[in-house]
């Protein structure tokens, strides 16, 4: 039982620090995104990019800016991976194939960080540092910027202006992500994460053979991988690799970094709309779902139901002994509840139901707390749908924070919540209907889980892998790349369109007849809508995968 108690302490300490972060880091984030002053560096950036930081954008302009920036990033990163062999610090590695280059570029620009390659044997230091790591920063900043634009839609009235994407992007990168990353990297280096530009060391092993120990700028990339809920590991083994995540306490730090921004965003929301209780309510929805999920994964793994786990008295397969069951399970829950997708153990080796929970976490649309920014806008879109149904039940045209949720708003919210499940289901079905399913490692329901997980992870921009399945052939690279791009940018259009529509409205003053959106009843209702409307959509396919295997 001591492992259980240790696990409980591990989770409770995380909860405590995340709660503190919500309060203080959330306030800091709020000041960053709502401030009016520009630092000298920022002014220089604006001058170089050629934007007027005082000029605000309407939603189409904001959306176009997001897409222009992301398209440029995509092309740049694609070129980078393809031309690697001609660049310095390539460690003699060749360029990527076209489909893998596309997949990698799509993956990092969409904040998915799905890796169809093995980092240490595919990419040199330059691409890792100035290609992938840069995207780790800016793709995270894009997500936060879009969520802030949506919140401005709620907070503002009778305006077209949703803020300036370039200003949001620059500030979030320079004032939030960079400073925290620098501090975090130093902490991780202190914990034993490597940071060098070495091409690797060849050592003689005890058995007499030689082994290549790859080095590299790991800590600097590791920290933003977690902080920006990116998840793309320097090494193929991701956070299970001792150079990325050496000890249980760096494991704690990494989970904390994953949760830091997503759980702070509701505070930004509450502050910006001028009612902190609204932020608390959104936080509560996220927390209920997250805590339930963490408890479930831990329970399934610690109860180690199944033949092999029974034989060895633990569901230890595929988990690092230095973390143990609980710290691994909690990591996996955290990484799929957010859009991080970093892993310190692989769900393929989990118990069937234990492996299903991370899948469900992603299927929910990653809203508890979700990716940086994307989690907040995801849950707000679901809250809009909840408000609509619940609002009708109190006998008024539904309104959320004084903004009416009428046909136009519900159209955008509906389209938003349609996209990701559609992409998951269609991708999965095409793979299962064609020979492409044959790259799965296992057979039967477990093999199917591998396919389902892959598309769930890609479409929801998570990037974690169930493992087992081989996904780096041309079809898989192309298909998952498409899923990632559609799953990221199409919903953003609807988020920004909704923001534009909300911002134009004149707010309706609250009265006793207004549905209160900060009470436990409403919190429970959002949780219910998330579970019934979304999770149940996937029940049929889950039945043929993990449920068939695990019941």
């Amino acid at each position: 039982m001591s492992t259980t108690i240790a696990g409980v302490f591990f989770v409770l300490s995380l909860v405590l620090f995340v709660a503190l972060a919500y309060r203080y880091f959330g306030d800091y984030l709020y000041r960053v995104v709502s401030g009016t002053r520009h630092s000298a560096v920022e002014r220089l950036v604006y001058r170089l990019v050629g934007v007027n930081p005082a000029g605000e954008q309407s939603w189409p302009v904001y959306a176009r800016s997001v897409f222009a920036f992301s398209l440029l990033s995509l092309l740049f990163l694609y070129g980078f991976t393809r031309l690697q062999s001609k660049l310095p610090l390539s460690l003699g590695l060749p360029g990527m194939s076209p489909h893998q280059g596309w997949n990698t570029a799509a993956s990092f620009v969409t904040n998915t960080n799905w890796q169809s390659y093995a980092g240490e044997s595919t990419l040199g230091h330059l691409v890792q540092m100035s290609g992938l790591a840069v995207q780790n920063f800016v793709s995270a900043a894009v997500g936060i910027a879009v969520s802030v634009a949506l919140v401005r839609g709620f907070a503002r009235s009778r305006t077209q202006a949703l803020g300036n994407f370039w200003v949001d992007l620059t500030r979030i990168t320079l004032r939030v992500l960079l400073p925290v990353a620098v501090v975090g990297a130093i902490v991780l280096i202190a914990g034993g994460v490597v940071q060098n530009l070495s091409g690797g060391t060849d050592v003689s092993t005890v058995a007499g053979g030689t082994q290549h120990i790859p080095g590299g700028p790991v800590a600097s990339q590791e920290v933003i991988k977690e902080l920006g809920t990116n998840g793309g590991g320097f090494y193929n083994a991701n956070s299970a690799h001792p150079f990325e995540n050496p000890t249980p306490w760096t494991n704690w730090i990494e989970i904390f970094l994953i949760l830091l921004i997503p759980f702070s965003m509701p505070r930004v929301f509450g502050r910006m709309v001028g009612d902190r209780r609204q932020g608390h309510a959104i936080l509560a929805v996220m927390a209920v779902l997250a805590v339930a999920s963490v408890i479930l994964v831990n329970t399934f793994e610690l109860l180690h139901n199944g033949t092999v786990p029974h034989a060895v008295d633990a569901a230890f397969e595929g988990k690092e002994v230095r973390f143990g069951i609980s710290d691994s399970a909690t990591f996996v829950a955290a990484t799929t509840l957010t859009s991080a997708g970093a892993v310190n153990s692989f769900p393929d080796s989990y118990t069937a139901l234990g492996g299903m929970v991370p899948m469900v976490n992603m299927m929910l649309g990653e809203v508890a707390p979700g990716g940086v920014g994307s989690g907040l806008y995801g849950i707000l879109m679901l809250a809009v749908i909840t408000v609509f149904v619940a609002g009708l039940m109190v006998g008024r045209t539904p309104e959320y924070l004084g903004k009416k949720i009428s046909a136009r708003e519900i159209k955008f919210a509906s389209l938003y919540f349609l996209i990701t499940p559609a992409v998951v289901l269609i991708g999965m079905a095409v793979a299962m209907a064609t020979k492409n399913r044959e790259t799965m490692l296992n057979v039967g329901p477990h093999g199917f889980s591998e396919v389902l997980y892959a598309f769930t992870s890609a479409a929801n921009n998570n990037g974690s892998a169930f493992a087992g399945i081989t996904v780096n052939d041309q079809w898989w690279d192309t298909a998952t790349g498409l899923c990632m791009v559609i799953g990221r940018f199409l919903p953003m259009v609807f988020v920004l369109a909704l923001a534009g529509s909300l911002a134009r409205q004149r707010p309706v003053p609250a009265s006793a007849g207004t549905l209160p959106t900060h009470r436990p009843l409403f919190i429970g209702l959002v949780v219910g809508v998330v579970v019934v409307l979304i999770a149940l959509t996937f029940l049929p396919v889950l039945a043929l995968g993990p449920l068939a295997e695990g019941l």
């Binding site: 749908i385 609509f388 149904v389 619940a390 009708l392 039940m393 109190v394 006998g395 008024r396 045209t397 949720i405 009428s406 046909a407 519900i410 159209k411 509906s414 919540f417 349609l418 499940p421 559609a422 289901l425 269609i426 999965m428 079905a429 095409v430 299962m432 209907a433 399913r437 039967g444 329901p445 199917f448 004149r506 707010p507 309706v508 003053p509 006793a512 007849g513 207004t514 549905l515 209160p516 009470r519 009843l521 409403f522 209702l525 219910g528 019934v532 409307l533 149940l536 959509t537 996937f538 029940l539 049929p540 396919v541 039945a543 043929l544 449920l547 068939a548 295997e549 695990g550 019941l551």
Partner: protein, 716 residues
């Protein structure tokens, strides 16, 4: 509108909308007609069900089995039940429209050519009523039917409007003022009036009413459109979930090669019948089936209360109203000042004051005067004396100059001459002084006290021959607030609606009445333009405003308000400007209109919640039924322990269809609505329709399985 025919005066059914089973039967042909895909596609959810039913019909013909036919029949029934709901809702309107059509008789109009005000003998020509144009002038005499909507420009007449209002008592219509509007199809009972036609041909009030009650001009309301979008999105997701399941099912069946082929799954995957069943079970059929019936029934409930809304949008807006503007007179108060108290001064007995006041009011036929007589009788048992009882009494009428009225009673030897006066304090006190009296400060105190509470003080004084005149006391006249208004306003407040009283009174009086009635705010000394400004101000703050009005000068405000209810007695200008007409001309009805609007939205929300919550049980019925034969562990999901896969699926589909029929009465009647705060409404409705929606299908499907379906040959 239960009583459209002039002769029938049935009590109005306020709860309204109880379903007569015969209506279901009568509407069946309409329901079948609605199966036409060209019209059904407007309802995406039911359209999907119909396509599914067509598909399973083809499959059943191809590969016949009891199970396949059973599912097919119930899928068709699902669509028919949905159509039935709509047909029943429309059917009620159609009956009313038929009665109205009878009122729209072919009439002949006597058009006046070159009519001008005051002209004695204009040229007259006879034309068909349908040929009348706007601004034509017609003459109508006793016994004739008014050929079109218009305003009386000359004369006064009593008019029988029972054809549209159901009210058999005739009403007076006269030129000028706010009672000048007449409606085509109504009959002049006495006298002669000249009417200027205001309608365009074919757009008369009755035409509009017919269109409205028939639902011909029914357009989807904003919230209905929004809800339809959500339902369509849900349907698409479930469609995808079902279609994409097939490759996985084929893969799973192939993996478990030893699993037998059954009616639910074979080597080609899940059978078409079962796939369609899963889809129909998951898409929100309940709300999809009842959505339009709810909207039609909502309008119908208004019509039953004799309110005509020109658009469904207005009914919905009524539910959203934040501010109610209510005219004081006739809405909040009874309409006239009434005596409520006798306040004697200078040691005079209250009964003595009452007696004097009564004597002085015997000839006073104003409502105030009558109320004094009534109060004297009620408080002091003073029987009403006819004017003749005091034979020699000489009554002094009220004049604007003296500002008092009274009575002179000549002496008969035993009693001296006695004169009594009542009136405005200043006038009566001057009269007292003129007749040798020295009024004390006391009277002034009482008068000021009454004024301060918004009442009207009426001082009563007497002068007996040979003695100095003296003030007897003060009669307190005040506006009497209608019974129950305070409770209604409290209810409004709980619903989050602010009530504002509009009055021409001075601020002091207005405040007192506002406090007594319990309204939230008041607008005193209100002129029409003040009303308009107030509405604009409220709307600036994002609020929706509802008001009633009847006069032409109300028209701009009625047009500006989000919900403008004009009185049927009002002018055509007012009726045109508002978006609802109350045929009973009862301004208090605004409150009911708001409640109907809310009830409409609540019914939609509640049934949507119910529909979505239903899905949980259906998953647990159908998923194990589909796949337990492939993966026996999935029988663990069969928590209802249904007897066989076929029985489980059939029971789910039958439940799905029956629940539509079961909820038709609720859709037509609307869910129970009690004014309360949003929180408590939500809590209550979630409990009933959310938790109920989760629990009901578990019970229903299980019961169907045990009781019927498992005994059908070929199912168990």
């Amino acid at each position: 509108m239960t009583a459209v025919a002039p002769s029938v005066e049935a009590p109005r059914q306020i709860g309204g909308g109880l379903l007569d089973p015969r209506q279901l039967w009568k509407s069946l042909p309409d329901a079948l007609r609605k199966l036409n895909p060209a019209t059904l596609w407007r309802n995406p959810v039911m359209f999907i069900v119909e396509l599914g039913a067509l598909f399973t019909t083809a499959l059943s013909i191809q590969d016949s089995s009891t199970f396949a036919w059973l599912i097919t029949v119930w899928l068709w029934l699902t669509v028919i039940f949905a159509n039935l709901a709509e047909a029943v809702a429309e059917g009620r309107g159609k009956a009313q429209a038929a009665t109205l059509r009878r009122a729209r008789q072919e009439t002949v109009a006597r058009r006046l050519v070159d009519w001008a005000p005051g002209q004695s003998a204009p040229r007259e020509e006879t034309v068909d009523a349908v040929e009348l144009r706007q601004n034509d002038v017609v003459v109508v005499e006793a016994g004739q039917v008014i050929p079109g909507d218009g305003d009386v420009v000359e004369g006064v007449a009593s008019v029988d409007e029972s054809a549209i209002t159901g009210e058999s008592a005739p009403v007076i219509r006269e030129s000028g003022g706010d009672r000048s509007a007449v409606t085509g199809g109504t009959r002049v009972l006495s006298d002669r009036i000249v009417v200027k036609i205001t309608q365009k041909p074919g757009e008369s009030f009755i035409d509009r009413m017919i269109g409205l009650v028939e639902g011909a001009s029914r357009q989807k309301t904003p919230n209905e459109i929004a809800l339809n979008i959500l339902l369509a999105a849900l349907s698409i997701i479930f469609l995808l979930a079902v279609i994409t399941l097939q490759p996985v099912a084929i893969f799973s069946k192939a993996f478990q090669g030893a699993a037998p082929n059954t009616l639910t799954i074979n080597e080609h995957g899940v059978t078409g019948i079962v796939l369609v069943s899963l889809l129909v079970a998951l898409i929100p059929t309940t709300i999809g089936a009842l959505l339009s019936a709810i909207g039609i029934a909502g309008m119908d409930r208004l019509v039953q209360r004799n309110v005509l809304a020109t658009s469904g949008r207005a009914v919905e807006a009524a539910g959203d109203v934040n501010t109610l503007l209510l005219d004081k007179t006739g809405t909040i108060t009874l309409g006239n000042r009434q005596a409520t108290e006798f306040l004697p001064v200078g040691g005079v007995e209250a009964s003595e004051l009452a007696d004097a006041a009564q004597l002085s009011s015997l000839a006073d036929q104003t409502p105030e005067g009558r109320s004094i007589v009534v109060l004297a009788k009620n408080r002091h048992g003073l029987r009403e004396r006819d004017e003749g009882v005091v034979p020699s009494a000489e009554f002094v009428p009220f004049t604007a100059e003296t500002r008092m009225s009274g009575v002179d009673l000549p002496g008969d030897g035993a009693t001296p001459d006695r004169r009594i006066r009542k009136g405005a304090a200043a006038a009566v006190m001057r009269w007292v002084r003129e007749n040798g009296g020295h009024p004390t400060e006391e009277v002034g105190g009482v008068v000021d006290g009454i004024s301060a509470t918004g009442g009207t003080p009426l001082v009563v004084a007497e002068h007996v021959a040979g003695q100095p005149a003296r003030a007897l006391g003060v009669v307190h006249l005040k506006d009497v607030v209608k019974a129950g208004m305070r409770q209604r306003f409290d209810a409004m407040r709980r619903m989050g609606i602010r009530t504002i009283m509009i009055t021409g009174d001075n601020p002091l009086t207005a405040r007192a009445i506002a406090e007594e009635a319990g309204v939230d705010d008041f607008l005193a000394e209100a002129k029409p333009e003040d009303k308009l400004a107030l509405i604009r101000r409220e709307q600036e703050g994002g609020r929706l405003v509802a008001m009633t009005g009847d006069g032409t000068n109300d028209a701009p405000a009625l047009a500006q308000a989000d919900v403008g209810v004009s009185m049927n007695t009002g002018t055509s200008a007012a009726k045109e400007a508002g978006n609802m007409v109350d045929l009973d001309s009862d301004p208090t009805k605004l409150i009911e209109i708001v409640e109907i609007g809310k009830q409409l939205l609540i019914t939609r929300g509640a049934l949507t919640t119910f529909s979505i919550a239903n899905d949980i049980a259906k998953y647990f019925a159908i998923i194990p039924a589909m796949f337990a034969v492939v993966y026996p562990t999935l029988d663990g999901l069969n928590i209802m322990r249904l007897s066989s896969p076929e029985s489980a699926i059939t029971s789910a589909i039958i439940f799905n269809a029956l629940v539509i029929v079961a909820l038709i009465p609720l859709a037509l009647r609307g869910v129970r609505y009690r004014p309360s705060s949003a929180s408590s409404l939500l809590g209550r409705n979630l409990l009933i329709y959310g938790l109920g929606g989760i629990a009901a299908p578990f019970a229903g499907i299980k019961v169907l399985d045990i009781a019927i379906v498992q005994f059908i040959p070929g199912i168990s």
